[in-house]
Amino acid sequence: MANPSYLALGTRIISGIDKLLSTVIASSPYRWSSGIVRRAGLTGRTLVIAVPWIWLLLFFLIPFVIVLKISFAETRWLGSPPYTPLLEWVSGQYLQIKLSVGNYLFLLSDSLYAKAFLSSVKVAAVSTIICLLIGYPMAYAIARAESKWRNTLLLLIILPFWTSFLLRVYAWMGLLSNRGVINQVLMALGFEPIVMLQTDFAMYIGIVYSYLPFMILPLYSNLEKHDLTLLEAAVDLGSRPFKAFLSITLPLSKPGVIAGSMLVFIPAVGEFVIPRLLGGTDSLMIGRVLWDEYFLNRNWPVASAVAIALLLVLVIPIMIFQRYQAQEAAGAMKS
């Protein structure tokens, strides 16, 4: 989350480490080795940059490669691991590589996966739009609030993160269940209780509630930077204040809207816990299909293929789109 002060702190820490390292390297016991170190390209800067690279390598790239590998294997119903090896020594003489695309073909043949995928995209898209409709006015209000209130208001947005995500979802179950708080109040007032839990309604509440901060924070960091004299200029040129908002603030906040929507949409597509706990049994989400393939069917190769397909179908277009947007935004915000 692009909180500028954290960013500034981050750069300060990095430049601090950089300086520290260069002092260490320049100090006399290490001076003899500094030539070698420099020849190997190991300056303080590269060492610092190496940390996130190693992190991504260990925790993103390697697991991804493992999943990719499994997706090309075949299911082995008995034994562990529950899939066939990709590489095998045949009679101890030559290495056999066995790539099976059958899992991917299976995804295409069974309409369940396409349906689950489409319904996930729909749920994520609707949730993103609701988050945007609620989050934009909130981010706008915080960005335009008196500066002494802004940090407090931001803190209130981030505050739920201090509690476990699961606990908060369980809290919603307590609120929405048939004999939950809301229905108790309704009955006390003499109304009929409403079935809310295990419906799409509850699922949307859960997703919107959980992901709202991810919409608000990038929007805020965008809106907060706006030059308010632009709005004065628009009003001065004959535009009513609300129209000035539509023609100036809204287009200029586009990078924030896109960033926030990405942060909500991408994880919401693969969301598993919220539909499981709050949604109905008939809610068909790709995350849930994935879970069932892994843990109920023990079909790791198909589950991996689902994961990889999801990544390709969803993330690559988004990356291209985002790249294009970033270029455009860099041009527009520069003046």
Binding site: T229, L230, E232, A233, V235, L237, G238, A332
Partner: protein, 378 residues
């Protein structure tokens, strides 16, 4: 440069002329702080009126009240006879050129300029032709499709000017219009600004802290200090006939001699000044009580430097040259008088070769004509 039309006609001297913008007793308070204090001004059609003052003097607040961004605490504003009370900024016949230009970064030059016309819901052909005309006037033809970040500072300034003029406002407000430009560009732009203003006949109110900018642009200047208008006049009047110490010192450089009136006649006064170390003679009457404390102000370029003692026994003092700044066209001399006061004198470098050039530590006489000094009492 020929005299500008404003100087030739001077509507403010014509008792029958109707002011185009009337500011009546405008006061603006922010809590306890009085930003603008009982300001009344009459501004005439086609004027370039400069509000000149240091930061915090209230000039920008006054401008923002004219634009409608701030509501006056007291007083009224009339534009072309219509009261602006309760009229929101988007309905006023007023446009503003912002100090930061406030160009819309996501729109092209063309879209920026067309923005105001689109709000009026004019037909497309008319918007296009007016935008094209205006871009021609500010010499930005060929730049229509550029975005603001692709323009130089001078070009942005002209887009801002075009955008605020294209609606043909009755009054254009300019907030430090040349402030963001470098020196060379400023000189070029200020003449261009005056040309455009004369061509379109729009009334300008310019806010600036830069007296040079005010002098070259303005038909009249209103000098502001601590929320008050302290003097209104043409650049010439403000420079040569300042009415107070503040205006005298704020505009240009000046040497001030504190003293007392010793002889008070209708056609002349004499003042004794310890700071000069001798008497001053002023060749006109002064409205001040005898024995009153006064300041005589003499501009650096109106003083004369010579090695010989002037024959007139008033308005002279001897001293030693302490500093010389050679500026090419003129030189500035700092002379330490025998009284202990340092005065600043500007002398044009009329000759390329001077056999008897004044130099550091030379003893010289400083003198000036009896009509050169201005006497102020406060």
């Amino acid at each position: 440069m020929a005299a500008r039309p404003e100087e030739r006609k001077a509507p403010w001297l014509d008792a029958k002329a109707q002011p185009y913008i009337r500011i009546e007793g405008i006061t603006k308070k922010f809590g306890e702080f009085v930003a603008v204090n009982d300001v009344s001004l009459n501004i005439y059609r086609g004027e370039i009126f400069c509000l000149l003052g240091g930061s915090g003097c209230g000039k920008t607040t006054l401008l923002r009240m004219l634009a409608g961004f701030e509501q006056p605490s007291a007083g009224r504003i009339f534009i072309d006879g219509v009261s602006m009370e309760g009229v929101p900024p988007y309905e006023r016949p007023v446009n503003m050129m912002f100090q930061s230009y406030a160009l819309f970064p996501h729109m092209t030059v063309e879209q920026n300029v067309a923005f105001g016309l689109k709000q009026e819901k004019l037909p497309r052909e008319e918007i296009e032709s007016r935008v094209a005309d205006m871009l021609g006037i500010v010499k930005l033809g060929g730049m229509e499709k550029r975005k603001p970040h692709q323009l130089s500072g001078g070009q942005r300034q002209r887009v801002a000017l075009a955008r605020s003029l294209v609606k043909r406002p009755k009054l254009l407000l300019l907030d430090e219009p040349l402030g963001a430009l470098d020196k060379k560009l400023r000189e070029h732009t200020q003449f261009e600004l005056v040309n455009i203003q004369e061509r379109l006949g729009v009334t300008f109110i310019v806010v600036t802290h830069d007296q040079e900018e005010a002098m070259t642009l303005a038909s009249r200047i209103g000098v502001m200090n601590q929320g008050y208008i302290v003097q209104v006049g043409t650049p010439h009047e403000i420079y040569e006939f300042p009415n107070s110490r503040f205006v005298t010192e704020f505009i240009g450089n000046v040497n001030m001699f504190e003293g007392r009136i010793v002889e008070d006649e209708p056609d002349h006064v004499t003042i004794s000044s310890d700071e000069l170390g001798g008497p001053l003679y002023v060749g006109h009457g002064v409205s001040a009580a005898p024995e009153a404390q006064v300041w005589a102000a003499v501009r650096p370029e109106k003083m004369i430097l010579s090695r010989e003692q002037p024959s007139f026994e008033y308005n002279r003092a001897s001293g030693v040259i302490k500093e010389i700044a050679y500026m090419g066209d003129a030189s500035i001399y700092l002379v330490l008088l025998d009284s202990g006061k340092t005065v600043r004198i500007t002398q044009p470098n009329t000759y390329r070769h001077a056999d008897d050039r004044l130099t550091w530590d030379d003893r010289v006489w400083v003198s000036w004509d009896e009509s050169s000094s201005v006497v102020v009492t406060e």
